[in-house]
């Protein structure tokens, strides 16, 4: 079966230009795919109650050029994302739609405004189409902490799609979404992209506005595209990137046309492999897939060498102090007073706070709030939070040093292919270690992309990760596209879910 739901955004754009399909046909095709598959995948949240949102395309060329498109030769002023449905992770605010972060505490919370990324997508003519399942407040690597129950991996329904943007990854991989937005605090775009066999980009910190993204860890969070190929990733970043006065941590750095990096030769490109990423803990199958990817890249003319990021082993430790500390502070606003769930039986104000939060947050959210509150509490701040921020400096310096020698770094995205649902839920530490290769990019603020690079013997996707200097997403697209065009992995798709 080859329906419109199987197309990429760039393919749909071509069809539109030729007037070979209508927006209604595309939305119908996706809706049909969701009806037939999502009962098993659980990638969407309350799909039936979520209406698609679309704005009329901009009327002038000047306006058009502001939104990341080039007028085509035939004078078509529509942006490449015009009419393309984009699924949105449940922690990004869309005006009038529920934004629950897959948490009980935000059930029925209707976002009163659009996130900046949503405004930009709507300006570009994209259709906001459905909300995707996630770990509660993005706390997790498997999508199992969702209040709505776990999303499943379309390649094997007994396995996790990864997390926290598991619903976005599962929907894009299963052809129930054309493309999606996710958010990445420690790997939440890249790890599920790897586990589901799609492309996931975490942009440089500050590249994309966080306004309207419900905050998890404010110094680490970034919104990014999750797509079936590298071209779509570039098209989406073209639209969502850029300075936003509403987010004081967004960077006032020019946005290039990222599609201009596609199709370029990588002859002579210097690729570094940090030796610390290839030690114990890496599964044999992933190691072998990376090895053959390296051969492929060398065949394309890249020069691959070993480099060192000496503080890599401390990244997970630093992250599980910094991220929960910031989370405990960000989640203080959920207190049952202004919005969200309230325990109505409480007699005093303190009891109302405690019971609303106690009822409203799931177990992983509670663990992180406790960890963060402890790390920031009087008497422990220096030993935990301050210490972690200093080691963070060292991790960041490692990258600065490495990028003096090479253009891009190559690592595995996740230590193993998708694990079984329930396999790691009893042991939070084991779950945390599934982000071991992705966390450093968030701590250092550098951009990183995961692309498909192979399959395990059980036919589960394997991903590789490229990392680049801050604001050098162009190089990530260049090398990823060259690899993708030389391989067939991104063309594989899972069979219809049957079990």
């Amino acid at each position: 079966m080859n329906s419109l739901a199987d197309k990429t955004a760039s393919e749909l754009s071509e069809l539109y230009k030729k007037n070979s399909c209508t927006q209604k046909e595309i939305l119908d095709s996706l809706t049909q795919a969701i009806h037939s598959k999502d009962g098993k995948l659980n990638a969407y949240v309350k799909f039936e109650q979520t209406r698609p949102i679309h704005r009329k395309p901009p009327a002038t060329k000047a306006r058009h050029q502001n939104i990341g498109g080039q007028a085509s030769a035939d004078g078509d002023l529509r942006s490449p994302l015009w009419g393309v449905p984009i699924a949105i992770k449940d922690n990004i605010c869309v005006e009038g739609q529920e934004a629950s972060c897959a948490s009980k505490i935000l059930q029925n919370y209707i976002a009163p405004y659009n996130a900046t990324v949503i405004e930009k997508l709507l300006d570009a003519g994209a259709v906001i189409f459905g909300r995707t399942n996630m770990d509660e407040f993005a706390f997790g690597s498997s999508c199992e902490t969702s209040f709505y129950g776990p999303a499943k991996n379309p390649w094997d329904l007994a396995r996790v799609p990864g997390g926290s943007s598991g619903g976005s990854a599962a929907s894009v991989a299963s052809r129930t979404a054309i493309a999606a937005l996710g958010s990445d605090t420690g790997g939440s775009i890249r790890q599920p992209a790897a586990l589901c066999g799609i492309v996931g980009l975490k942009p440089t910190y500050g590249r994309v506005s966080r306004y309207g993204l419900i905050a998890f860890a404010s110094s680490l969070d970034q919104i990014g595209p999750m797509t079936r190929d590298v071209r779509d990733s570039a098209l989406l970043l073209n639209v969502i990137a850029g300075y936003d006065p509403k987010d004081s941590t967004s960077a006032d750095v020019p946005v290039p046309d990222y599609t201009s990096f596609l199709g370029q030769s990588i002859k002579g490109m210097k690729i570094g492999m940090p030796k610390e990423y290839f030690k114990e803990g890496l599964s044999k199958e992933v190691g072998e897939a990376i090895k053959s990817a390296v051969k492929k890249l060398e065949g394309l003319g890249a020069v691959v060498s070993e480099v060192s990021l000496p503080h890599t082993e401390h990244a997970v430790n630093v992250y599980y102090i910094v991220a929960p500390s910031e989370a405990s502070s960000n989640l203080a606003r959920f207190d049952g007073v202004r919005f969200g769930y309230r325990n109505k039986s409480a007699q005093t104000l303190k009891e109302m706070y405690e019971k609303s939060r106690g009822d409203g947050f799931g177990a992983e959210a509670k663990r992180r709030i406790i960890l963060g509150t402890f790390a920031l509490s009087s008497g422990y701040y220096d030993a935990y939070y301050l210490k972690a921020m200093k080691v963070r400096t060292k991790i960041k310096s490692d990258f600065d040093e490495a990028f003096k020698k090479v253009d891009v770094l190559l690592t595995p995205t996740a230590p193993s292919p998708a694990f079984k649902i329930g396999e790691k839920t009893e042991d939070p530490l084991q779950m945390y270690l599934s982000d071991i290769y992705t966390i450093s990019a968030n701590l250092a603020g550098v951009p990183a992309i995961s692309i498909p690079c192979g399959f395990s013997k059980n036919n589960l996707p394997i991903g590789l990760q490229f990392l680049a200097k801050p604001f050098d997403e162009g190089t990530l697209f260049k090398v990823s596209h060259a690899f993708e065009q030389a391989t067939e992995f991104h063309k594989q798709k899972p069979e219809e879910p049957s079990s």
Partner: protein, 96 residues
């Protein structure tokens, strides 16, 4: 981590735990703290802390009045309101 006392931290975080859940949470968090304690081995003498990946300081904007959400719109999400206010259980005791 013998100093870690879940009840105390839960009170600071305004987070209620059922008595039956305390033990398992306490041991899980203690396990994670033991893991992050590995950082004690790292020498950071003279290293400046990084709180943020971008070198941003004092991001200012003009002090202009701009439209913002109106109260009624916002209150649609509120669990309990009275007029223009959010209503909560009584904070100050009655004098009797």
């Amino acid at each position: 981590m013998s100093e870690f006392n879940l009840k105390h931290i839960a009170s600071l975080a305004r987070l209620h735990f059922e008595e039956k859940d305390l033990k398992v949470f306490e041991s899980q968090v203690a396990g994670i703290l033991k893991f992050v304690d590995e950082l004690r081995k790292v020498n950071v003498d003279g290293v400046e802390p990084t709180s943020h990946p971008l070198p941003l300081t004092n991001v200012f904007r003009e002090d202009e009045i701009k439209p913002s959400l109106n109260v009624e719109e916002f209150q649609k999400n509120s669990p309990q309101v009275r007029g223009r206010f959010f209503e909560v259980p009584k904070v100050i005791e009655d004098k009797s």
